[in-house]
Symmetry: D2
Subunit: 392 residues, 4 copies
């Protein structure tokens, strides 16, 4: 298919040319000083993206799913109990990884259209008078629905209940896209992957570990080896890893962190909000519903668009791909066919969003959905239009 493809799934995201070039190089000896310098430079800069001074970022050659496992097997043992929320496909997936490792999960049902209510967290923890819950599992930005959870509110709920459960937060599709504050929200473990806001190809699973989680891993956890972060924390001191790391991705991470720093995290977040607002304006212009029903909980990484009754979102997705080289995200598990997802995260700009909106409305129209052609593009453009014109 001629021209550049538009990868507008909610991750993996477009890898910037600068990052691709940084990885297009010879591998180096991962036991040599040059490598150690690279690692020692990376870790504090990565910590900055998590907004932490107390947490330690740990990088695995894995996926975000692997980082989920790392967060769990280091801090929890078979038979432990955790509190989690049936709030979306990935929230469920995270809980399932815990269950696979013989951890008991109390998975509270919630409305998938809205964030987990702080009150629900508080009540569940208050009821847990014997402090049975060792951890609360939360997904910051639910990639399957475009609903953003309020981590600060959950932290407040835990505090209000006076509970000492660890707070383990999936930030796979929020880190580097929306404000996340590891220290301020006293998160114990944050989990992410390389292929979203960090603008890398997939291949790295990353956790950020706070002091309480580190202590928990020192004295317990599950049987583990590959994901055992103790050896990594120890070897990272000298800039090394206990086994062969994904060297080239680390060079890419170096470049990506530089790019985030150059743009500035605040501006990165503002840009994501700007692009997200434009997409949502387009969805409204199409007279379609945004899945997320709480405007305060809109994700700025992606927007899930609800299909009209009797229309299969996979038809639209296939059309967008085959006709326009536009990759949109499918509806996952119980929302399959009911929604499609527009990713607007990572290394992205206004014109790419406009192309995405235009391509989506064409795909909708060609799939038999009634949309006024150009309505979404107009709405998105209006969202981008500067208020004042330049003097000619």
């Amino acid at each position: 298919m001629p021209g550049r493809p538009f990868l507008q799934i909610p991750g993996p995201t477009n890898v910037p040319d600068r990052v691709l070039r940084a990885m297009d190089r010879s591998v180096i000896d991962h036991r040599a000083p040059e490598f150690a310098s690279l690692v020692k430079g990376l870790l504090p800069d990565l910590a900055r993206v998590f907004k932490t001074e107390h947490g330690r970022p740990i990088v695995f050659p894995a996926s975000g799913t692997g980082a989920w496992e790392a967060a769990l097997v280091n801090t929890l043992a078979p038979g432990d109990r955790v509190l989690a929320f049936d709030n979306g496909h990935f929230a469920d997936g995270f809980a399932k990884v815990a269950a696979d490792h013989k951890i008991f999960v109390d998975l509270l049902p919630t409305d998938w259209h809205r964030p987990v209510p702080g009150k629900m967290v508080e009540e569940a923890l208050r009821d847990d008078t014997e402090m049975g819950y060792r951890a609360v599992l939360l997904v910051h930005n639910e990639t399957s629905t475009g609903v953003r959870n309020d981590v600060a509110a959950v932290r407040a709920a835990i505090d209000a209940a006076g509970h000492d459960a660890l707070l383990i937060v999936d930030t796979v599709s929020s880190l580097g896209c929306m404000d996340f504050r590891f220290d301020q929200w006293r998160v114990d473990v944050a989990v992410t992957g390389s292929q979203k806001g960090l603008m890398l190809p997939p291949g790295l699973g990353i956790v950020c570990v706070g002091p309480r989680a580190l202590a928990a891993s020192e004295r317990g956890g599950s049987p583990r080896s590959f994901f055992d972060w103790r050896a990594i924390v120890r070897d990272n001191e000298a800039g090394f890893f206990p086994y062969t790391p994904a060297t080239l991705l680390l060079f890419g991470l170096r470049e990506a962190l530089d790019m985030l720093a150059e743009e500035g995290l605040d501006e990165v977040f503002a840009r994501h909000r700007r692009l997200a607002d434009a997409v949502r304006a387009a969805v409204r212009a199409w007279d379609l519903d945004i899945w997320c029903k709480d405007a305060d909980a809109y994700s700025h990484s992606l927007t899930a668009v609800v299909m009209p009754p009797d229309t299969d979102s996979d038809v639209v997705i296939r059309r967008a791909r085959e006709r326009f080289g536009l990759a949109l995200g499918t509806g996952l598990s119980k929302v399959k066919g009911k929604l499609f997802r527009i990713g607007h995260l990572g290394w992205l700009n206004e014109l790419e969003v406009l192309a995405t909106v235009a391509g989506t409305e064409l795909a909708l129209a060609e799939s038999g959905v009634t949309v006024r052609l150009g309505s979404g593009a107009k709405a998105a453009e209006s969202a981008f239009l500067a208020r004042e014109t330049v003097s000619p």
Copy 2:
């Protein structure tokens, strides 16, 4: 500036990733058999793009401007006379190169909004009873105005006048974008560059030379060395060059020719027409004028858009670049400030055109030009919309 830039000047065009990758490699010995194989494979495939069996493509490490010079100094001597047309900035530039080499140029004035009339060519040649004109210089697609000349009509005019002047045609922004027929139109020299329809970065000047031009170069021409194609024709027989060629660009050319063959030249031309029609629909929706006033002469490589009175096109161009990372072409020489040019040639697809249209209308609006936001996008989308919807 975050995200992918939009290089929508009428060349250089976006280099496909495949071509970039093909050049991202070690240089090889240009006197070794591997190199000779490369060259021997390239030349016939390049001839196919010119639609010639009789012409020989010759590749210089130079620009299109250098290829102009090659066409002239090999076939014409100081004091020779040629017929040319003041039909645009590049037509004038081509004529100026001839004049720089002490060739007398009769530069006939024409309407820059329209192609060179065949009748004008015929009359000028009929008047030349002493066969003073050694060549007719023509630009197939005038990159400064978006007017496409009718090479077949000019060939017919030369024949009608019974003149034996060489027909030298600039195809810099038409080759690989619009139909060009070296053999059928009995072109004697065609001139092009690497950075437009051939989808390469700039750095190659290419000519295609027919038998009459080859004969002219054997018995005459100007003092010349670098651009003397005789040595190249001779060494190319064995797959070599008389001096160091731009090796990596030749690897890129190999990939680009493969891509043109995979898509098929007819489909490449159809795609350019489809994209061009959508851009022109957008311009009309803005109530702005297309510079070219003859619809049969529309260029499918670029569209020059006329500014309303009292508005400087360079303001729009700067706005598009600074706000949206969108590069548009400026008005050149006598049309400076009066028009801007949208390039829609090379490795390009519908969504990139829609982004370009949307960005342009935003830049226009922010520059104080009265356009209805979304109107161009809607018109372009309508041009792309498939007539039948898929069954859901």
Copy 3:
């Protein structure tokens, strides 16, 4: 440091430019048909490298260490017992991963200078009259010592003992370098990584799973999630993965498998043997000992060179790196300081080996080891010299 570096550790190996270029591209949607085609093409070609028709290759975004874990947690449960051999650093490491997962390991001591004796295996299994051993863990090529184990002999020993233990073989530094026959040797799980004979950067852990191992994983295994191959086997049927794979490495794997097929596995093995023989000739010319004392068990991937008494191999390694940009492998764990390792595996040719030999003898001499300068180079050259001269 100017010029090209020489990465002559026993992996990661030099990534060929072709492979780097294949990965220097945009990521694609891992749920789209283009991706499925890629995966469906890769798996059978990967099986060919393992020489299997019955085994299924499974690719994880991980390291070889991760693939160890995958092999173990899918087939064995906590409390199971396995037979392993203290035959080198990586043999021990593999056993430790098992122990970390609460599997009981009987780690039999062996001579690190020689392969595991078939007889030892047979006796240990004969003694296991209650069939307590669920698996035998073996490292095909011990990367820390340059000793190659005889998998066929171990298989014969298991058969001779009439034992039904699974045979799990680490092929991390042998696959794609030396002959390995999954089907013929009735291996149940083979484990490897991307960064050695497969010529990729690190980042993939790969297992090849035979029917008995697959059956074992269906009915048992340890608590597991990320490394659970059941979901991968299931989703791979359609060309997909249950979680985000390392997309770009898979494009690289495609290219690497093509390169292995173009050269031909037999010629790849012959080349490794040729290069290895030359390195060993050089070591002998230096009057230094090859760690491996059994010539039939020489590794063709690497050679471990024993230091003279009172000389620290790390001094030589540092010198090679700092003066010549030559990366040699260090002595690991109990052989630290006693040996250094020359990697001669992957995408490598005679001249690179000669540079390595020359650089190593310079580093030795500059570290105070008595070697005749040029002696190793001469020996290696002699090994490469064609017997007959060409006619001038």
Copy 4:
């Protein structure tokens, strides 16, 4: 052919990965501010490599041969007379370009084994009492023979003769390899290409122009267009070019200039001398002759090796290429078959030189030339050996 190729012709040289990566990117608008910034940064840094404050570097999308033409047609007119020396293949070639442009060349015969004697220059100019010579053409480093001319001595000879001829110097294979002092030696035009000491792929022809040459071009010169540097000098002021430049090569040049600055020109020259000394030691160990008979005039960019009688150097070259992937330079024009050339310039280190020496002695031996295997490698290693060993 497996492994990395060894491109040891005397140019094009190995392009460093950093430079390749810098060019592996999207093209930008050559009329936009980002491009202007690039150009304005490049020119002064390029001047630094020429060691000039008064000269202006001018970059053409061409080859070194094109830069020859640029030097000539800007400063000389048809009918002008120049002094040149038949001192090697490229000296002759430079003279031929002048003759092709109808400039009269007095080509004085010299010994190809030695540099042009200063005395010969002085006498020829003293005899030219009517100041007929407008320029002296000199090749700093004769790439066909490995003889380095003494530019300072030629300058002194011109001064001694009291002549005002321009001094035009080819530095194609010396710039960035050996000391060249544009200002101190009062060179009027220096000519080079991208593909040697500047470590780029071929595709740029570069001249450095002093005030006298600039003045000559303002008031005269030959008919010219593409190579007319006046328009470039004018447009470069604002960071632009009069026609499309080879954009990606300019990004590569940026990186290459940074690399030269990081290493430091003095260290770059010292490295070239070190590598060259080692190669010459190897040639002597083979009992073969170095073509250059004046040790003070040895080139540090390449060494031409004389074949024994009755042996064709092209047999050795073919053997080196086919067996070892080693590209050596052929004998050009009248020395064809009599010598081969080892390039040791550009981005190169000791180990690559050792591989080249080892491969060359193997190719010699396999071609029937009597050389002691390892003798060259030993000699080259000895040249590299640090005098003091490190303390263990």
